[in-house]
Every structure is written in C-alpha cells, then in structure tokens.
C-alpha cells in the first residue's frame, strides 16, 4: 500500500507540459526562424534567408541613435504602468473590499468597454481629445484647455495606453486585494501607523504579487504597442516596437527588425534571470 509520491519536479513538469508544448511549437520554433533571419544579409524581399551570415544587423541595432527611442519607449510604458496602478488600485481595492455581492459585476463592468473595437475606442479618444473635443472644452471651463487639444501629445499616448491596459492592472490587483488579510491593516493602525504609512508598509507589500503581475502585464505590452502612439501621438512617437514594425513593414530591413527583436528578448530574459526572490512567485 505504501507508495512513493510523485516527486515534485515531475509533477510540476507534467503540469507544465501542455503549456510547454504549445509555446515550444508556436513560439520558440518560430522565434528560432527570427534568430536565423537576424543573422542574414539584408534583402528587400521578406522571409528569405540571404547569405552570407552577418552580424551587421546587430551592429545597426546597437547604434546609440536608437537610445532616445528606447528611452521614450520605457517612459511611455513606465508612466502607463504607473497611471494604471494609480487608477487601478482604488478600483481593485473597492471591488475587493466594499463591493459585496456586486464584486463580479463590477469587475466585469471594467471589461465591458473592451467589447468595442480597439480602433473605435481610439477614435473616440481622438475625438474627445481634439481641440474641439469634450475634454478640451471641459478643461476650458476651468481655464486648463490647450490650443489644438491634447491630441498628438505624449500625454495623449499615455492616456490611450492607460485606457487600453487598465484591465490588465485591475484584475491582478483585485485578485491580490481580495486575498489580502484586512486584519493586518487594523494591526498597523493599532500600532499607530496612519493611512499612508500603512499603505506603503503593510498593504502594498501584502498585495505585492498583484502589483508585480499587473505591472508586468501592462509594462511589457505597453512597451511593445506602437499602434496607440501612432494614432494618438505626434511626430516623435516612434517606440521600440514601432521601429521593429517599420523594419518588417515596407520591406525596410528584415534582419534588423529580427535582430532588434532578439535583443529585446535577450534583455527580458536577463532581467528575469536577475530578478529578486520576491518576484519569483509571480513571474
């Protein structure tokens, strides 16, 4: 009757097998093609490996000229994640702690607007942010309007990104808040810490997995999104994602686009490898 238990590593790997299979076939193998292409010689036709092998694409990709774009990408993504956190936390906290039996309904209500086509939503924002748009007119009432509206500004891009990615912050945060033991807040108040101190010392660490997950889910796709900046941003809205996109579209430079993508992946892999123990449970 005594029977050895399935060892933990085996159980874990079995559970991971379907995901691993899927990603190996539909992500890693295709990415291998990208890696191959990144070492090819440039040609104007797509999807052809053109010899000789060269690292030229990598040299171009590492050109410091791309640094400002990299910086802008991070700024967009970072500010978007921050904005999502600032907007998402009150929402998540409220739903988790005060919404009672309307929890699910409110959560779903966060997602409902996303049934509208992405482009339709963005165009709606364009209209709202325009010089003649509602936002500008409302702000005009308090003298905060801006000539020509807020369209084609970095602010508009961040707003658009925030709008698009907010659910990706709210849901993980909600999940974390719902699990959070509110008695710890009471303990903190009890020991004399006010709301702000308690938030940073007890609540935030308590919901940290959710913050991490949400930030990851917002930060990374926001950094890769180039459609939103293109539609809402001004002239200088090139992001790392859009540069890569440009290299593929218009047949500009497929090996360069591939090389940049490979570098981006490497960067993320390194960051993941170096992340702290605390994050390991989430990412």
């Amino acid at each position: 009757m005594a029977r050895r238990r399935v060892p933990r590593w085996l159980a874990a790997n079995l559970l991971l097998l379907p995901a691993g299979f899927w990603l190996a076939v539909f992500l890693l193998v295709p990415l291998a093609l990208v890696v191959e292409y990144s070492f090819a010689t440039r040609d104007t036709g797509p999807l052809r490996v053109v010899l000789p092998w060269t690292t030229r694409a990598y040299r171009t990709a590492l050109d410091p000229a791309f640094l400002p774009i990299f910086g802008r990408t991070l700024t967009y993504a970072g500010l978007t994640a921050l904005a999502c956190l600032l907007l998402g936390f009150p929402l998540a906290w409220f739903i988790a702690r005060h919404a009672g039996r309307f929890r699910t309904a409110l959560l779903a209500a966060v997602l409902v607007p996303f049934w509208a086509s992405y482009l339709a939503r963005i165009y709606a924002w364009k209209a709202l942010l325009d010089g003649e748009g509602l936002v500008n007119r409302l702000l005009g009432l308090v003298g905060l309007d801006r000539d020509g509206g807020f369209l084609l500004t970095d602010g508009a891009v961040i707003l658009g990104l925030t709008y698009g990615f907010l659910p990706f912050m709210v849901l993980p945060l909600y999940v974390a808040c719902e699990r959070f033991d509110y008695r710890l807040v009471e303990a903190s108040y009890d020991l004399g810490h006010g709301r702000v101190s308690t938030f940073f010392r007890v609540v935030l660490p308590g919901v940290w997995p959710g913050v991490l997950a949400g930030s990851l889910l917002v930060l990374v796709p926001a950094a890769g999104d180039f459609v939103t900046p293109k539609l809402l941003g001004g002239v200088d809205q090139s992001t790392f994602g859009s540069v890569i996109d440009d290299q593929f579209r218009g047949g500009n430079n497929w090996p360069l686009g591939s090389a940049m993508a490979v570098l981006l992946l490497l960067l993320v892999v390194v960051v993941l490898m170096l992340r702290g123990r605390r994050g390991e449970d989430v990412l």
Binding site: D190, G194, R195, V202, P205
Partner: protein
C-alpha cells in the same frame, strides 16, 4: 458598583487598583449589531488609569467585538466610548494611544519577527541603537531573541502569539488591549508570561484591558474582573467578589465549578435564611445586602466545590453541628493532579462536585459507589441574584437566550 472603593479583603496589597484614579476607558451604553445578531448589547464599563481589568465570558459573547470598538476598528451602533475623557467616535485607530494583542495575532507576514516588533516603535520615531535596544528587550521578554530573523510562518503557534505580545508591548501605549494573549501557550510559559505582564503593567502603569477565557488567570492577574454573557456584562467586581459572591446564576456557573441548587425559602431569621431543597438536610444562607426574601420564594443558591467536606458515610468523623450537610454516593472520581474531583450523586437526581486537595497520595481517595456525607459551613452558601430558571445548564441557558436575537 464599579466605582466603589475596595470592599472585600485584598490579599496582595500592591495589587489594589487606585479606583479613584481617573477613568481611562469609559464605555457608556455601547451596542453593536451584526446583520442578524446583537454582539454587544448596551454595555457600561469604566476602567481606571493603571488598572488591570479583565473581561471573562463564553465564546462568542462579544469580548473581541468590544475590544475592536475600543481600538477603533468598529464604531458602536449606539452608545459612547471615551478614552481619557474624550469621546472617541470617529477617531481612527492610529490616533488612539491604544495597542492591541490580537486574538488571531495579525502578524505581518512579509516582515521578520524583528521588524514586526519594531513596527510600532518606528512610528514613534525610534531609530538606531535605541530601536534595537527596545526590540531586543521585548524579544527577550517573550524568549524569542533567537527567532528574530524568522518570518511568522516559520514559527509555531505559541511563538507567533509571543511575537504579537512583544509587538504590542514594545509600543508602550497608555492602554493595552489583550485579546486572549496567552491562549496558545503552555501552562509553564503562560505563568511566566503572566508574571511578566503583571510586572510590566505595574511598572509602566499602562492600563490593561485583558480578555481571557482562563478564569484563574483573570482572578490572579486582575484588579477587577467583568463577566460577560451574550453581549451583556453580568457582574463587575474584585476577583474574590466575583468568585466568592457571584451575583448571578450565570456567573456562578461560569467562574470555576459551582454546585447550584434551586431551593425555597422556608424560614427567615434575621439575615439568615432557612432553605429547603436540593436534598440538603439543613440548608442555610446569609441574605446578601440589599436583598430581601419572602417566605416560600424560589431561590438559587450555590456553594463552591472546594468548600465541601467529604466524610465517610459511616465513619466516625462527622460534620460539625450547624453545617449544611447531605448524604450521597460517589459517582466519579477524577484525578486532576493537584486535587481530586469527586462527583457525588445526591437524592433528587442532582449531583454535586467536591474538590479535595491531593495532600496525600491519590490511592487514599474514595472510589465510585462509595456512600459519603458532604457538608459545608453555611456561611459559604451564596444566594444568587437571578431567579431560578429551567433545568438547563447556565451557560446553555444563556446561549439559548442569545439565539433569540
């Protein structure tokens, strides 16, 4: 009753609270309901500065709820709570100079034991060496110095509870609320901690509001004790008042073991009542001050098991004349270490309990089935406030009442 100067004899002089000290915690007509139930039901209590005040009561009687309102985690539905004379309604917990040892510990899981204890001190702007000293001191107090770097999940239940105590104590508030702070500790450590808590309380002069389910603990540690039941306070008084002169049937049944008998007044002789019932041959009791009784009145009386003396039914030693006494049969003998507990069936279907200290080896004790005579000095017969109720056990009866809400 609560503000009277000490009435009874007080065995340990330095334990006497200064009942003329200002009121630190004033609870006036406080009521708190949950959706379907009254958890705290119109409580009035005043705790004085520097007092060690205990609240005793059955599970679910509203002790934790009361403490939560004092700490500020919940607002009373009606009534008023004053700390130091100031109405506390609307004052958030972190502005009250009150700390709590939580029944569920509520330790911060993401902090080490050390950081948990330091948490309240940081708020008080303690830094560097001073902070380290205070934390170390309190960790030593609860014998956890070597666990400083662990996380709460890596501790045993008792160890966690000790961290909770250290954390609340370290902040040295004016008022400390302790919600069954020693519940998870073994008797040995518990006794040590009791002594530590008492010493700290006497030294620092912090007012303690102490919830416990251990009656002995309450009696030993406290200046005064309140006994709660189903959201109400049934009796407030000095430990020996509550123990020796329980005012209600509930208190008598709840504190220690009580032999409660439903009897009838058959005669009155000055302050002495002659009673019949419970199979006792001659039952007498002193009428409590301020009470009156009439002939034929139904009453409940009680006598503590340790006041009962056991005599061999046919032995030569017999109770002194004038004692209340009755014959019975030993039904059960339970060895409890320090003493042995005899359950004696008496005529009429009831049974009484007597404690006999094990001053001898236990093999000297009686055995089940043995006929015995029980007797006690009538001055230990205590007349209870509340009228006799149905045959239910007191605690049971209270719970049933609770269900009415």
């Amino acid at each position: 009753m609560t503000d009277e100067p000490p009435g009874g004899f007080h065995p340990v002089a330095e334990r006497t609270p200064d009942t003329y000290a200002p009121v630190e915690v004033g609870i006036y007509g406080v009521t708190k309901c949950f959706s379907d139930q009254v958890a705290v039901d119109g409580i009035d209590l005043q705790v004085h500065e520097g007092e060690f005040f205990s609240v005793l009561g059955p599970s679910g009687c509203g002790k934790t709820t009361l403490l939560r309102m004092i700490a500020g985690f919940a607002d009373p539905d009606s009534g008023r709570i004053e700390l130091d004379g100031v109405d506390m309604v609307g004052v958030p917990p972190y502005r009250r100079d009150v700390n709590t040892v939580f029944q569920s510990y509520a330790l911060f899981p993401h902090m080490t034991v050390w950081d948990n204890v330091a948490y309240g001190l940081r708020r008080k702007r303690l830094r560097g060496a001073e902070l380290r000293r205070r934390v170390a001191e309190h960790l030593e107090l609860v014998q956890l110095a070597r666990f400083a770097k662990r996380r709460p999940t890596e501790l045993s239940g008792g160890q966690q509870q000790r961290v909770a105590i250290a954390r609340a104590l370290a902040a040295r508030p004016r008022l400390l609320l302790l919600d069954e702070p020693l519940g998870a500790l073994d008797a040995q450590l518990r006794k040590q901690m009791q002594i530590e808590l008492m010493q700290i309380q006497r030294e620092v002069g912090t007012t303690f509001l102490y919830v416990t389910h251990d009656q002995e603990e309450a009696l030993v540690l406290s200046h005064r004790v309140a006994v709660m039941n189903a959201g109400r306070v049934e009796q407030v008084g000095y430990p020996e008042d509550v123990y020796e002169r329980p005012s209600t049937r509930f208190v008598a049944g709840f504190i220690g073991t009580s032999n409660i008998m439903d009897v009838k007044v058959s005669d009155m002789d000055g302050e002495w009542l002659e009673l019949t019932g419970g199979g006792v041959e001659r039952l007498r009791a002193v009428l409590p001050d301020g009470h009156s009784a009439r002939h034929g009145q139904q009453l409940s009386v009680t006598v503590r098991p340790e006041k009962l003396h056991l005599y061999d039914a046919d032995g030569e030693e017999q109770p002194p004349p004038g004692w209340c006494s009755l014959a019975g049969t030993v039904a059960d003998v339970v060895y409890t270490g320090m003493s042995t507990q005899y359950v004696v069936d008496v005529p009429g279907g009831d049974s009484l309990v007597a404690f006999v200290q094990n001053t001898r080896r236990i093999s000297d004790a009686g055995t089940p089935g043995q006929p015995v005579r029980m007797a006690w000095d009538p001055e230990f017969t205590v007349v209870l406030d509340s009228p006799a109720r149905g045959g239910a056990e007191p605690a049971e009866a209270e719970r049933t009442k609770e269900e009415v809400h």
